[in-house]
């Protein structure tokens, strides 16, 4: 499935987390979201958000000052 891409560059936490959360909400289970952010805080915050909300963190990749994070939706709200 092609991931939904979200641009959260220049946003400071928790805004990237909110963008991810709001993007996942209407999607069906199994959907994949790829979020690009520049706040290094996402390296901690998005994995934590995935753990507590039962979603799967597929990976974090750093490219220069950007962090590309992939998440799969495992359950509804």
């Amino acid at each position: 499935m092609k991931p939904l891409r979200i641009d959260a560059r220049r946003l400071l936490c928790p805004m990237p987390v909110i963008r991810l959360q709001d993007a996942l909400e209407p999607l069906p289970v199994g959907s994949v979201v790829e979020i690009t952010a520049t706040d290094p805080g996402v390296q901690n915050d998005i994995p934590a958000w995935c753990r507590i909300n039962g979603q799967r963190l597929d990976g974090i990749e750093q490219r220069g000052n950007e962090y590309i994070i992939t998440v799969t939706k495992l359950c509804d709200d």
Binding site: R10, L12, C13, P14, M15, V17, I18, Q21, D22, D39, P40, G41, N44, D45, A48, W49, R51, I52, N53, G54, N65, D77
Partner: protein
């Protein structure tokens, strides 16, 4: 039937404990956290290079993970503007509309539980803990004006208050709630020890920039020079960054980066603001907030910015002035001497 409650999670100790007290009674608890834009949530760490090595976490997420509960983070930046700009109950010591803020957040939570089919709301409020929003006289105001009324349960001080619906209906056992009051943190710390919580956040000035005097001075200055009380998210983010300097009588101010991380952060705003950067020497990036400057004003601004670069003692410094999103042009000036920048120009 398992009852469901939503807990307002700020990331501090009180909301952590309040949620745990109710979890202990077999209630299903989920957390809700509101993002206003004024939250003190590691933004300075995210921006400033010198702070990069310090461990950084979102305290609300951390609290939720300790509790093993879901956390719903809600962006209320737009709706919250009216609370900051027109607080019915006024401001506290600074531009903090604490009572209106609490009413608004409980009101939002009340709407949320109705939408999601939850039964009641939990907050970590304690009578007498805070001078504006957590007094014996104001706790009923929060319950009444938010519309939540007796669906609002404060587990840490419930025994000092009339029984709420969850207590009267037996959804929770009032005897297992608490009677904390006053500014002492000892009862909370003892309860935290009892639950095995050790690494909780203890923000010195609360969790909101509006309680900070220096931040409030900058926000008031913004309103004064715009001629109206209004702001956008970018405005309130930029108040957290850099050295803010307004020459006397001017309608423009400078936001001068203090270090590399701030320069990088401010450079993301060059499309929206006029800017100055030093070409001939190492130096900070500065944004200009205000109307388009004329040549004389650009030279004045450049001379101030040059003062904060490595060419501060040089006879001349070359800078680049750029309009918002446009091409830059060179401007060469003599840096101002320290005595030419009065302390009164600094917005702390």
């Amino acid at each position: 039937m398992t009852r469901k409650a939503v807990a307002l999670i700020s990331g501090g100790l009180d909301s952590l404990l309040a949620a745990r007290v109710i979890q202990e009674q077999g209630v299903h608890v989920e957390g809700i956290n509101f993002f206003t834009g004024f939250c003190v949530e590691g933004h300075t760490h995210a921006i400033r290079k010198k702070d990069k090595d310090k461990p950084k976490r979102n305290n609300a997420l951390w609290v939720a993970e300790q509790l093993g509960i879901k956390l719903h983070i809600v962006d209320i930046v737009e709706e919250y503007k009216d609370v900051v700009i027109n607080p019915k109950h006024g401001y506290g010591a600074n531009l903090n509309p604490c009572l209106d803020c609490k009413i608004f957040m409980v009101q939002q939570a009340y709407q949320w539980i109705r939408d999601k089919g939850f039964d009641f709301i939990i907050t970590g409020e304690v009578i007498g803990q805070r001078p504006m929003s957590q007094r014996k006289e104001t706790l009923p105001v929060v319950a009444r004006e938010s519309g939540a009324d007796d669906l609002l349960l404060r587990p840490l001080c419930a025994k000092n208050l009339p029984p709420t619906l969850p207590e009267r209906e037996g959804w929770v056992d009032r005897d297992r709630l608490h009677d904390f009051s006053g500014r002492s943190r000892k009862p909370q710390m003892a309860l935290a020890r009892q639950y095995g919580f050790e690494d909780y956040a203890q923000p010195a000035g609360g969790c909101c920039f509006l309680t900070d005097e220096n931040y409030s001075i900058k926000l008031q200055d913004l309103w004064t020079h715009r001629g109206e009380k209004r702001y956008e998210l970018d405005d309130i983010m930029l108040l957290k960054v850099g050295r803010h300097l307004r020459p006397e009588g001017q309608s423009w101010k400078l936001i001068i980066a203090r270090e590399e991380g701030e320069t990088r952060f401010l450079s993301g705003y060059k499309g929206q603001f006029q800017s100055l950067r030093t070409l001939s020497h190492g130096g900070p990036l500065a944004l200009i907030d205000g109307p388009t400057l004329n040549d004389e004003q650009i030279r004045e601004a450049a001379a101030i910015v040059a003062r904060y670069g490595q060419g501060k003692t040089a006879p001349e410094v070359e800078l680049e002035y750029s309009p918002p999103g446009g091409d830059g042009r060179s401007v060469t000036v003599a840096p101002k001497a320290p005595h030419e920048i009065p302390q009164s120009w600094y917005l702390v």
